[in-house]
Symmetry: C2
Subunit: 128 residues, 2 copies
Amino acid sequence: MSVPLYQAKAEMFRTLGHPVRIRVLELLQSGPRPVRDLLAEIDVEPSNLSQQLAVLRRTGVVVSFRDAGLVMYALSTPDVADLLAAGRRILGAVLTDRDGLLAELRAHSPSEQPARPAASIEGSTAAR
Amino acid sequence: MSVPLYQAKAEMFRTLGHPVRIRVLELLQSGPRPVRDLLAEIDVEPSNLSQQLAVLRRTGVVVSFRDAGLVMYALSTPDVADLLAAGRRILGAVLTDRDGLLAELRAHSPSEQPARPAASIEGSTAAR
DNA sequence: TGTCGAATTGCAGAAGTCTTCAATTCCGGG
DNA sequence: CCCGGAATTGAAGACTTCTGCAATTCGACA
């Protein structure tokens, strides 16, 4: 597997790494929409939205076209929906897992350091 | 849907937005591995790898533990593999789609602007 | 042709991420 | 107890991304 391939994959994921861009993609899951609609639902400045849309276009996850005088955006492939779904599942797994262990910990050891950052409770920090 | 949720999702994807981190996750798909092995396969400085592993740990997509004197890393949930697979599919779709249209364009209009950047050939740039 | 709303672009300062270096922690074995 | 390799941490400098403002382009329609 070539090295630049990892670069390309990383770029693809980095493209989704922004709240506004995620939001746009979720809205586009239900079909093409004009910029105007996105703007109405997202609460961000027009220029900012445009910048984020440009990022999504550059990577090719969305496409744009003009219809009835408005610029429309659409997912370039339905596979994008799968990606979002997978992301949701992982988020769910990670969170319940964290909260689960957190709750368990609390139940078994009543007088533990209370100000300890939650993140280090999981198995995630073995080496130190 | 709460606003910080989009923040969390974005963070999750941003976590994957780095070649070394992608590489690590792909290696971990086949099971837990010691840092030493990752280091041998990835060609990056130890401290850099550690930094990237820390990022993955922070988000909770990997966990670490010590075994036989070595620090091991593992995917925190097999769902991560789905995410990588979905990413691969999209990358494939986007690329063939781009190259496909590119080839089609070439075939149908022999004397077209040759120095035009490839990215703008797709439907991706309708408004201008 | 002139005007209006829609959407994009250019840009600058603020904020965040990457990489590398040196220093540190951790643990197993002598 | 101290050494050695394994892995992590801290911090600084280079680099990239984000945000908001002002200016511009674009196309529809009178």
